[in-house]
């Protein structure tokens, strides 16, 4: 496709794409690739006084405070972070698009109601809302993804709403209506295809945000629950040890930044390719 070719021409985006493919590959092949069970608290994973081991010994990247192999945990963490990031963003984009399209296409009081609701949700500080939701529905993997989706759909909805509105008013749509074409048909054939590029951009860029949000929630202790590893909760469990065992905080930190950055680079490049008018804006 033209998009892929364009993507390959941009060096940064290409780098991002490689990182994403690598991470996905590692995540999928996790059971084969890991040297140890990520949840196994190895007896020689800790010193006699109970301190974790630094990288460079038997355990490649060192061990954590329970004697578990950090490398294995990072690999499985990729799985968790990717899964939640993609699922949550998928949900967010779907929900946001649905609301935006309905509001933009149907118009009238439905649109006003939906958009006021969107404004309402925007008034909540995202993290705060996520924290309260996580407290009400005690966290499990799917609850976390759902909570993140709940606070991330708003921006998509607004953008899709604006675009749908603009599209719905175009002449050819009016013409089709005049000819008696059904509303659904118009939606399917004339409006949705034009939204695809926006959805694609948000679908990619949004993963960066959801990955970061999951990391933050897990860092606060209300995201993915241990012993299931996620990059955020590895930092959570070991955060006070950043002085005596910095590898436990900074290695997962680098992983998070790398993945979020990769999605940002690819998403931004996609936006450049698909819609140059929106370059450089939020």
């Amino acid at each position: 496709m033209r998009v892929l070719r364009e993507l390959f021409h941009r060096k940064l985006a290409l780098l991002g794409l490689i990182v994403i493919v690598l991470t996905v590959g590692v995540a999928l092949a996790a059971p084969e690739v890991v040297p140890h069970d990520p949840t196994e608290q190895l007896f020689d994973g800790l010193t006699l006084e109970g301190a974790p081991l630094p990288p460079g010994g038997t355990y490649w990247l060192g061990t954590d405070l329970l004697g578990r192999d950090l490398f294995s945990r990072l690999i499985y963490g990729a799985r968790t972070s990717l899964l939640i990031g993609i699922v949550a963003n998928g949900l967010a984009v779907t929900l946001g698009a649905a609301i935006g399209v309905i509001a933009g296409y149907v118009g009238g009081w439905v649109a006003t109601a939906l958009m006021r609701f969107t404004d309402l949700m925007m008034a909540f500080p995202a993290l705060l809302l996520a924290i309260v939701l996580a407290a009400v529905f005690s966290p499990s993997l799917w609850v976390v993804a759902l909570v993140i989706a709940m606070v991330s759909w708003v921006q998509v909805a607004r953008v899709i709403y604006a675009e749908t509105q603009a599209l719905a008013r175009r002449e050819f749509v009016e013409a089709e209506r005049a000819m008696g074409a059904g509303r659904l048909r118009i939606l399917w054939h004339h409006i949705l295809p034009h939204l695809v590029s926006t959805l694609l951009v948000w679908g990619t860029l949004g993963i960066s945000t959801t990955v970061l949000l999951e990391a933050t929630l897990s860092f606060l202790g209300i995201g993915v629950q241990p012993p299931t590893p996620s990059w955020g909760n590895i930092i959570f469990e070991n955060q006070t040890y950043f002085g005596s065992a910095p590898w436990l905080v900074f290695l997962p930190g680098i992983a998070i930044v790398a993945l979020a950055l990769a999605f940002n680079l690819v998403g931004d490049a996609l936006r450049d390719i698909l819609d140059p008018m929106q370059r450089g804006q939020h």
Binding site: F124, V132, V136, L212, G232
Partner: protein, 306 residues
């Protein structure tokens, strides 16, 4: 214009009302029982019931909400179960540090972002431009808690250039403001770059050049001010990100603001404080949006030449 303002104001109030209802409903669903928390571990069921009655927690949901909303109108946000203080007083004490941090982080993100964006635009398509853009991307992709811990570790613990957290002096403001500002700086750098590039291509500037004005003058007096305007308009929208960011950053740096209060309240399930802080944050966000909406339409990229 006045009608528009009035309309937006009414909308904002309705939004705040909606926020209060939703938050109240969510917190109502929390399993933890404040009456038992207050009653302590040796309490009898009668004592717990008595406390529950005193706090009005045995009333149906809508009655509880109406009482809360009623008190809200007189500025009373209730009393904290755990801290035994007036929530309003607590929030007011903690507001100044957060405001200081807000000013600090906005200053940081503008300073860093505008400078990076301007440099990148002026040196477009060179390696400087690319490096700056990558840096801005990294700034947007780094989770603030990692950044905060990193800065604390490197500059406060290891190098001891700054105090390790705390509040009161300018030196203590630097690291937390930087942590919060780097995210915004990333956005603004890219915005500034594209905005400036757009402005630099405008016809009226070519006219200015043709008239003999030097490059630097053109830049400073005409291009920059117009390029900055869209960025400034965005600041209001940033309040939302800021309100989320302070929960983590204030806790990492021990900054006694509303963010730290929020996190502590959530850990102890102190419902009145969580309600109060959510409302205050929502107010700030709505205000920010309002400001941004009011400023943005007044931006007119065309300027008169002197």
């Amino acid at each position: 214009m006045a009608a528009y303002c009035a309309r937006r104001l009414v909308q904002s109030l309705l939004i705040l009302l909606g926020v209060s209802i939703i938050t109240f409903a969510l917190l109502y669903l929390l399993p933890a029982d404040p009456a038992r928390q207050i009653a302590g571990r040796s309490a009898t069921p009668e004592m717990v019931a008595s406390i529950r009655h005193q706090l009005g927690l045995d009333q149906p949901f809508y009655l509880q909400y109406l009482h809360y909303a009623g008190r809200l109108l007189s500025g009373d946000l209730g009393r904290s179960y755990v801290q035994r203080t007036d929530v309003t007083a607590l929030i007011l004490t903690r507001l100044p540090p957060t405001l200081v941090l807000m000013v600090g982080s906005i200053a940081t993100e503008l300073a860093l972002g505008l400078v990076m964006g301007m440099t990148a635009a002026l040196k477009r398509n060179t390696s400087v431009d690319r490096v700056l853009m990558v840096i801005s991307f990294v700034g947007v992709s780094a989770p603030q808690f990692v950044l905060g811990i990193l800065l604390l570790y490197v500059f406060a613990v290891r190098l001891a250039w700054f105090p390790i957290g705390g509040y009161g002096s300018l030196r203590q403001l630097v690291l937390p403001a930087l942590t919060l500002g780097i995210l915004g700086a990333g956005w603004y750098a890219r915005m500034m770059r594209s905005s400036l590039l757009d402005v630099l291509q405008q016809d009226y500037l070519r006219t200015a050049h043709a008239k003999g004005l030097s490059g630097a003058v053109v830049l400073l007096r005409h291009a920059l001010p117009n390029a900055i305007l869209p960025v400034i308009a965005m600041i209001g929208l940033d309040i939302g990100t800021f309100m989320s960011g302070i929960v983590v950053v204030e806790s990492v740096f021990g900054w006694p603001g509303i963010g730290q209060l929020t996190w502590q309240a959530i850990q102890r399930v102190d419902i009145p404080i969580i309600m109060g802080v959510t409302l205050v944050s929502a107010c700030a966000i709505v205000l920010g949006n309002l400001l941004a909406d009011l400023i943005a339409p007044t931006i007119d990229p065309r300027i008169k030449l002197r």
